[in-house]
C-alpha cells in the first residue's frame, strides 16, 4: 500500500530532521526495552526516581544550553557546582538561616559566571580557555573554603528541597525543573536577550554590526550558566544532606552531553532548551538502566563519553546533507 509507505517515510524524515523529536523517540524506546529487561523499571516510583536523578544534570544543562546556543562552552559548571554548594554550606553554618544559604549559593554561581563572562569579554579569551581556568579556580576555592571537609547537619527544611514530595509523590526537584525550564524557554523565545543569545552563536560580528551591545549579553549568558549550576548544587546537597567540596566533578561532561543529544549545534545559533531536558533524561536513563542491570558505575563514564561523540556526529551528518 503506497500511501501508507509514503506516510511512514514522511514521518521518518520528519523525525530525523528534528533531532529533538528523534531523541524523545529514542528515550521512549529505551524505557520500553528497560521495562522488558527489568520489572522494577517501569514503576511509577522508578519513573519519578529518574526525573529526580535527572534534575541535577537537567538544571546544569539548562544553563549550559544558553552558553552552547551562543556558540560558547562552559567547562566550569562542575566546579562551580561544588563552589556554590560550599559557599551555601558556610552561609548556613554561620547564620543557621536557609534563605541566607540559598542566596549565598546563588551568589556564588552568579559570581563565577560573571568572572567567566568578564574574562571572555574584557580579556578576549575564548570561552573554552576562560571556563577551563575557572574549572580549576572554583574547584580549588571549594576545597580551600571547606578545608577539604564535607559539611553535614543540614536542617530538615533545607533537605525538603531535595527530598520532599508534593502530594506525596511528585518530587520537589522535578517541579523546580519544570518551572525553570518553562521560564527559560520563554526567555529564549520571547525576549531580546534570548534572541541575542542565538544571534551571537550564529554570527557575532553581524550581531554587533546590527547595533547590539555584546558584553552585557555575554555576561548574562555565563551568569545564567553559573546560577543554574548553583541551583543544581542546592538540590543535590539537599538530597544527600551534605555539601561536598569534591562534588560535581564530571557533571560538565553530562550536562554538555545532554545539550548535544538534544540536537544543539556545536557552532551555536540554534537549539531548544526542552530538547536539552530530553537529553538529560536520556543520560540519566542510561545510568539508571545500567544500575538496574547491575553494570558497574565505572562503565557509565565510558558510555557518557560515547554518547557525546555520537550525538555530535549525528549533528554533523545532518549538517552535511
Amino acid at each position: 500500500m503506497p500511501i501508507e509507505r509514503n506516510f511512514f517515510k514522511a514521518v521518518f524524515t520528519f523525525i530525523t530532521r528534528q533531532q529533538s523529536l528523534s531523541m524523545l523517540f529514542i528515550l521512549l524506546i529505551m524505557w520500553v526495552v528497560l521495562a522488558f529487561l527489568s520489572p522494577y523499571f517501569l514503576t511509577i516510583n522508578n519513573i519519578f526516581e529518574i526525573t529526580l536523578q535527572s534534575a541535577v544534570i537537567a538544571l546544569i544543562a539548562a544553563g549550559e544550553s544558553f552558553v552552547i546556543f551562543s556558540g560558547g562552552i562552559d567547562l566550569s559548571v562542575g566546579s562551580v557546582f561544588a563552589f556554590s554548594a560550599i559557599i551555601g554550606g558556610l552561609g548556613l553554618m554561620a547564620t543557621q538561616n536557609i534563605f541566607v544559604s540559598l542566596l549565598a549559593s546563588l551568589g556564588g554561581g552568579l559570581f563565577a559566571g560573571f568572572c567567566n563572562g568578564a574574562a571572555i569579554v574584557k580579556l578576549k579569551i575564548p570561552p573554552f580557555v576562560a571556563t577551563l581556568g575557572m574549572m580549576g579556580i572554583a574547584r580549588g576555592l571549594a576545597l580551600i573554603l571547606s578545608r577539604g571537609i564535607p559539611i553535614y547537619g543540614l536542617p530538615r527544611e533545607y533537605m525538603w528541597i531535595g527530598q520532599g514530595r508534593v502530594f506525596g509523590i511528585v518530587p520537589v526537584p522535578t517541579i523546580i525543573v519544570l518551572i525553570l525550564f518553562t521560564v527559560m524557554f520563554f526567555i529564549l523565545r520571547n525576549t531580546r536577550f534570548g534572541r541575542f543569545t542565538y544571534a551571537l552563536g550564529s554570527n557575532a560580528e553581524a550581531t554587533r554590526l546590527s547595533g547590539v551591545k555584546i558584553p552585557p549579553v555575554m555576561l548574562g549568558i555565563y551568569m545564567i550558566s553559573g546560577a543554574f549550576a548553583a541551583v543544581a548544587a542546592v538540590i543535590e546537597s539537599a538530597r544527600l544532606g551534605t555539601m561536598q567540596p569534591a562534588s560535581g566533578s564530571g557533571y560538565e561532561l553530562l550536562a554538555i552531553g545532554s545539550v548535544f543529544i538534544g540536537g544543539a549545534s556545536i557552532y551555536g545559533g540554534e537549539g531548544n532548551i526542552f530538547a536539552s531536558l530530553i537529553g538529560a533524561l536520556i543520560v540519566t536513563t542510561i545510568r539508571n538502566g545500567l544500575n538496574i542491570l547491575g553494570v558497574s558505575a565505572f562503565y557509565q563514564y565510558v558510555v557518557n563519553g560515547l554518547i557525546i561523540i555520537f550525538a555530535v556526529a549525528a549533528d554533523q551528518s545532518r549538517r552535511a546533507r
Binding site: 534572541r195 542565538y198 552563536g201 550564529s202 553581524a206 546590527s210 547595533g211 547590539v212 551591545k213
Partner: protein
C-alpha cells in the same frame, strides 16, 4: 576541437544551480577572457577546472580525451594552473625555492635529501629571463612587490610545465605600469604556446590582451565573441542581460542644499584612513568610489563605530561621538556591510529575526517580544522590497544573495535609519535585485534620507550619486559633482594617478 573543452558543465549548491550547461573552450597559445558579474559563475567554473569542486554534470576534454578531476592535484597533473588574487607563495622562502616548490631538485646523501641551492637558482634565473624579468632568485619572496610576486607565480606555473594558466583578476592590485608589464609577460606566454584564461572586470583590458571573450550570466553562457569583432556595448549587454540605460535609475537629484545632515571633519582611522572630510545633505546620495583596498570598507565601518576613529563629526549641527555600532544605531545610522556573509546576515536565524534584529525595542511589551507586532512589520518590508521567500520563518541562509541583501537593508529600514551607509551594496547580487536596490535607494533619498554608497563599481557610483568622492590609499584624491565626473578621470585617480585634487 580545441585543446581544452568544457561541455555542458552543471553544478548546484544546496539545490541552487550555479552553473547550467556551461560550455567553454581554449586553445594553446590563446588568451580567452572570462567575463561576468559577481555571482555569474566564473569562479565556480574555474574551481571545477582546477579540481576544487566536483561537477554535477558535463564533460571536460583535454586534447580530445575526457578527464576526471577529483582533487586539485589531478588538475595540476594535467598542466592546469590557477593563479589566484591572493597569491599562494611562501614569504620566507627564496624566489627559486618558491618556483620549484613541490619538486625541488635534490641529491641524496646517505638517503637524506640535500638542498641544491645553486642549481635551482640557476634554473629559476633561466625561467625568469624567459619572461623577461630581472629578479634575484636568491632573495626571499616577502621582499618582492605584488607584481614581482605575480611573476614568481607565473614562473612557478611554467616550471610545472603548465599548458593552461588561469589568471583571476591579476590586475586588481597592480599599478598601470605593472599592468603593462604583465601584458608583456602574457604575450610571451602566448608565444610559449600556453593557453590563458583571463578573468577580469575591466573591459579595456579585455580589448588589449584577449583573443576571444566568453561571457557568463546567472550561471549560463551569455555569449561567445571574437575580441576584434565585438564592442563595449555588446559585452556589457551580454553581461547584464540588458542595456546599461535600463540598469540604472534615472535620478533627479533630491539633495537639499540647505540641510546638512552630516559633516565629517578630518576623520582618521590609524593606519587605514587619513584626514577625510565631507558633507552629506538630506536627500543626497553621496558616492565614494575606491578600488579594493582603497579604504572604502574601513571608512564605512569607522563611520558606524565599528573601528576606532579620530576626528570631528557633526550631525544636524551638533557634534557627536560614535564609539560603537550600538551608538551609531541610536543616532539613526544604518550599515549595509561589504561582506554580507561575515558581517551582514545572521545565517541560522529566520528572515524575520534577521529583519528585526536592530529594532527589537519596537515590538516589546513588558519586557517580552510580541510576535504579532514583529510579523506585521516584517511582512510590510518583505512586500515593499519584494523579497522572495517561502516563509518569513525560513533561515536567511537559504535565500539567494540578492534576497539576503534586501533583508539586511530591511533591517535598517525597520529601525527608521536617517543615514544609510551602504558598502558595496550590490556585490554578489543578481541583476534583477540590483535594479531593485537602486530604485529603493532612489526612493529613500526622495524621502529625505542621506545615503552614502561606498563602492568599487564605478558605473554604479556614477549613475546613483549626487556627489562623488574618490578614495585611494586611505586618502580622498578627488571630489566631483554629478555633472563634472567622467569615468576615465575617476578611474585614473582611483588607481593612484596623480592630479591636483579638485575642490
Amino acid at each position: 576541437m580545441s585543446y581544452l573543452e568544457m561541455q555542458g558543465i552543471i553544478k548546484s549548491f544546496s539545490g541552487v544551480r550555479v552553473l547550467n550547461e556551461v560550455n567553454f573552450s581554449l586553445n594553446r597559445g590563446e588568451v580567452v577572457a572570462l567575463l561576468g558579474q559577481n555571482g555569474a559563475g566564473k569562479s565556480t567554473l574555474i574551481k571545477i577546472l582546477s579540481g576544487y569542486y566536483n561537477k554535477d554534470g558535463g564533460k571536460i576534454l583535454i586534447n580530445g580525451e575526457e578527464v576526471h578531476f577529483h582533487a586539485p592535484s589531478d588538475s595540476l597533473a594535467r598542466g592546469i594552473r590557477v593563479i589566484y588574487q591572493e597569491l599562494e607563495l611562501f614569504p620566507e622562502l627564496s624566489v627559486a625555492e618558491n618556483i620549484f616548490m613541490g619538486d625541488l631538485p635534490t641529491k641524496r646523501f646517505a638517503g637524506i635529501p640535500i638542498r641544491q641551492k645553486e642549481e635551482i637558482e640557476h634554473r629559476a634565473q633561466e625561467l625568469l629571463e624567459l619572461l623577461g624579468e630581472q629578479i634575484d632568485p636568491a632573495i626571499p619572496v616577502k621582499k618582492l612587490s605584488v607584481s614581482e610576486k605575480q611573476v614568481v607565480e607565473i614562473a612557478r606555473a611554467l616550471a610545472k610545465k603548465a599548458n593552461i594558466i588561469v589568471m583571476d583578476e591579476p590586475t586588481a592590485t597592480l599599478s598601470q605600469k605593472e599592468v603593462e608589464k604583465l601584458f608583456g609577460i602574457i604575450r610571451k606566454l602566448r608565444e610559449q604556446d600556453v593557453g590563458i584564461i583571463y578573468i577580469t572586470h575591466r573591459l579595456e583590458e579585455v580589448f588589449t590582451i584577449s583573443n576571444r571573450v566568453v561571457v557568463l550570466r546567472d550561471g549560463k553562457n551569455a555569449g561567445f565573441f571574437d575580441t576584434q569583432d565585438t564592442s563595449w556595448q555588446e559585452l556589457v549587454q551580454a553581461m547584464i542581460g540588458r542595456s546599461l540605460e535600463e540598469l540604472y535609475p534615472r535620478r533627479t537629484s533630491t539633495l537639499r542644499e540647505d540641510r546638512i545632515m552630516l559633516r565629517v571633519d578630518n576623520l582618521d582611522i590609524p593606519g587605514l584612513l587619513e584626514k577625510t572630510s565631507f558633507e552629506l545633505h538630506e536627500g543626497e546620495i553621496l558616492g565614494i568610489f575606491g578600488l579594493v583596498g582603497s579604504g572604502i570598507n574601513e571608512l564605512a565601518l569607522g563611520l558606524f563605530g565599528a573601528l576606532p576613529i579620530r576626528g570631528k563629526i557633526e550631525m544636524n549641527g551638533q557634534t557627536i561621538s560614535i564609539h560603537s555600532p550600538a551608538m551609531a544605531k541610536n543616532l539613526g545610522f544604518g550599515l549595509i556591510p561589504a561582506d554580507r556573509k561575515q558581517e551582514g546576515i545572521i545565517p541560522e536565524l529566520s528572515v524575520m529575526h534577521n529583519i528585526t534584529m536592530a529594532s527589537l525595542n519596537n515590538y516589546k511589551k513588558r519586557g517580552f517580544l510580541r510576535r504579532a507586532d514583529e510579523k506585521t512589520c516584517v511582512c510590510e518590508w518583505v512586500d515593499k522590497l519584494k523579497i522572495r521567500l517561502h516563509s518569513i520563518d525560513q533561515p536567511i541562509k537559504s535565500l539567494s544573495g540578492g534576497n539576503q541583501q534586501k533583508v539586511v537593508l530591511a533591517r535598517w529600514l525597520a529601525t527608521q535609519s536617517k543615514i544609510l551607509i551602504a558598502s558595496e551594496p550590490t556585490q554578489g547580487v543578481d541583476v534583477g535585485t540590483r535594479v531593485d536596490i537602486y530604485n529603493i535607494f532612489d526612493n529613500l533619498a526622495k524621502n529625505g534620507l542621506g545615503i552614502i554608497v561606498l563602492s568599487s563599481d564605478l558605473p554604479e557610483v556614477l549613475a546613483l550619486s549626487d556627489n562623488i568622492l574618490v578614495l585611494e590609499g586611505g586618502n580622498i584624491v578627488g571630489r566631483f559633482t554629478k555633472g563634472e565626473a567622467d569615468e576615465q578621470t575617476i578611474l585614473y585617480l582611483a588607481m593612484g594617478g596623480k592630479e591636483k585634487v579638485a575642490n
